[in-house]
Symmetry: C2
C-alpha cells in the first residue's frame, strides 16, 4: 500500500499533511489529510480521531476551517480526514451533477447497485482499509474515535454503532439522523442501495440506535438556526430512538448556530475533549 | 454610507458577518468581513483589530482559516478584514492576470499612475473610509490595532508606522518587509507609483522604521521554512532598520513554519493577546 506525500505544513508544533494512495476497496486513487500532533513519535503512538465531512467537501475543508488542530496538539490526538467519495474520471457521478449524490456525496455506505457498486464502497474504506493504512504508516495506535458533520455525522454515527468494538466514542455535528426519512437520504439510498428499503436500515443512525442499548459514548451537537434541521436532519428521531433502546445520548441543541463551519469551529474543541476521555484510558 | 448585509453566522457566541458597500475612496463596491465578539453591544463598545490579507486573498480567507475568533471572543475584540484590492468589472487588472498585481494585489497604497490611480487607493480606504464606516455602524470603539500577512503584513506595518496616533499596536506575519528591494514590491510599486523611487519610500516598512524611534508596540512572526523568506520577505531589513532607529521590535523566527495559514493559525492567538494589552488600556 504505497502512499504519495502531497503536502506537509507545520501547525501547532505538529504537522498537517495530505497523501494520495490507490484504494483497493474503491478501485481508484484517493487523497486523505492527517494532522499529527507533536506528541506523535515512533516510541509514542497517539490515538486517532477520524473526521467524516459533509456533502461537497473533500479532505481539506475540516483541516482548513474547523480549527481543531490547536486542541488536538494539546491533547495528543491525531486527526484523519478522508475524502467524501471515490474520485477520478472513471468514477460515475450524478447525471445532472447534483451536489447531493455521486462525487462528494458517497454517504459512507457500500453501494449494491450498478454503476455505483464498483467504486462507491466508502463504508469499507473508512472502517477497514483507511485505518489499516494509517496504522501501518504513521505513529498512531489502534485507539480510534469518529466524528463528522451532516452527511459525515450520519457516517460517523452509523459506522460507530455498527462497530462498537473499533471506536471508543462517537460524536457528530448536525448529522443526517434518519436518512430513510429525508430527501437527501432517500435519493442517495434508492440509487446506491436500490428499492428494497430493508437494505437501507443498516445505514440509518436512528434505526440502528433504537435496536440495542449501546454503552458507546455519543455526543451530538446541532444548531437551532440550521436551515436543514426539520427537513433533512431530523434530530428528534435520534432522541426518540435512544429512548426506545434506553441508550445514553448527549444531544445538545445550540442556540443561534447554523449548519456552517463557523458552528463546527465553535464546539470542535469540546468534541475533542469528549473523545479524549475515552481515547486516553 | 449604506451597507448591505451579505452573510451572518454565529460563532463562539459572537457573529461572523460580511457586508458590501460603495466605497467613495475606491469608486467601486467593496465587501468586508467583521467578527463581533459576544461582548459587543451598544452600551459596550469593543476595540477592533484590522486584518490585512495577502496576495490573492479576499475578505474571507482569514475569517475561514485563521481560527482567530475563539480568542477574539474571549478577549472581547472585534476583527475587521477588508478585501485586498478594489473589485468589479470597471477595475483594471494586470494584463496577464498575474496574481501579484492588480485584483487581489492592491498593496495597501494610493496609486499615483493611471490606469490604477482611479480605483487603487487602498491606503486611504483602510486608514480612513473603512474605520469611519465600521465605527458608525457597529458597536465598536475607536481603539484600533492592525495586523496582516505577507502583502498584508507590509500593509499593516506601513500603515501603523505612518499613523501612530491611530493604532495602539501593530503585528505582522511573514511581511514583505522591504518592498523597494524585492520582486513583488518592485513590480507593484513601479506600476502603481511610477519610476520615481523616492515616492516608494513611504510604503516600505524598513525604510520607515529606520527614520524614527517608534514607541508603537511591534510584533512580527516569520517561519524559517517559508519559501519566500530570502527573495521576497527580507526580514533582516526590518531588524537592521530597528537597530538604526533604536526602535523596540519583537521579531520572532519560528522554526519549521512556512508561509501558509497553518502558520498563521498556530500563532494568531498570541498576536491577539499581544494587541489586547494595548487595546484594553
Amino acid at each position: 500500500m504505497p502512499m504519495e506525500a502531497i503536502s506537509s505544513n507545520q501547525m501547532f508544533g505538529g504537522r498537517n499533511q495530505q497523501y494520495s494512495h490507490y484504494s483497493e476497496t474503491l478501485t481508484c486513487n484517493m487523497r486523505f489529510a492527517i494532522f499529527l500532533p507533536p506528541q506523535a513519535e515512533k516510541s509514542n503512538k497517539v490515538p486517532v480521531l477520524y473526521w467524516l465531512s459533509g456533502l461537497t467537501c473533500t479532505d481539506e475543508n475540516f483541516m482548513h476551517k474547523a480549527g481543531a488542530q490547536r486542541m488536538a496538539a494539546k491533547l495528543g490526538i491525531a486527526i484523519v480526514a478522508p475524502d467524501t467519495s471515490p474520485r477520478g474520471n472513471s468514477v460515475p457521478d450524478d447525471e445532472a451533477g447534483a451536489y447531493d449524490f455521486g462525487l462528494g456525496a458517497g454517504f459512507y455506505l457500500n453501494a449494491s447497485q450498478q454503476p455505483w457498486k464498483t467504486h462507491y464502497q466508502m463504508y469499507d474504506y473508512v472502517v477497514s482499509e483507511l485505518p489499516a493504512l494509517i496504522e501501518k504508516n504513521f505513529p498512531v495506535s489502534d485507539k480510534k474515535a469518529i466524528s463528522g458533520h451532516s452527511m459525515g455525522g450520519h457516517g460517523a454515527l452509523t459506522i460507530a454503532l455498527k462497530n462498537t468494538d473499533k471506536y471508543t466514542s462517537v460524536s457528530a455535528f448536525s448529522p443526517i439522523a434518519n436518512p430513510c426519512n429525508c430527501p437527501w437520504g432517500q435519493k442517495a439510498f434508492s440509487l446506491y442501495l436500490g428499492d428494497d428499503k430493508s437494505s437501507w436500515e443498516q445505514y440509518d443512525a436512528s434505526l440502528l440506535l433504537q435496536k440495542t442499548q449501546y454503552t458507546l459514548p455519543i455526543l451530538v451537537d446541532l444548531g437551532d438556526a440550521d436551515d436543514f434541521l426539520e427537513n433533512q436532519l431530523k434530530p428528534q428521531s435520534l432522541v426518540d430512538a435512544a429512548k426506545v433502546s434506553n441508550t445514553n445520548l448527549a444531544l445538545r441543541m445550540q442556540s443561534g448556530y447554523d449548519h456552517s463551519y463557523f458552528f463546527i469551529a465553535s464546539f470542535i474543541e469540546e468534541h475533542l475533549m469528549f473523545h479524549e476521555q475515552y481515547l486516553n484510558t
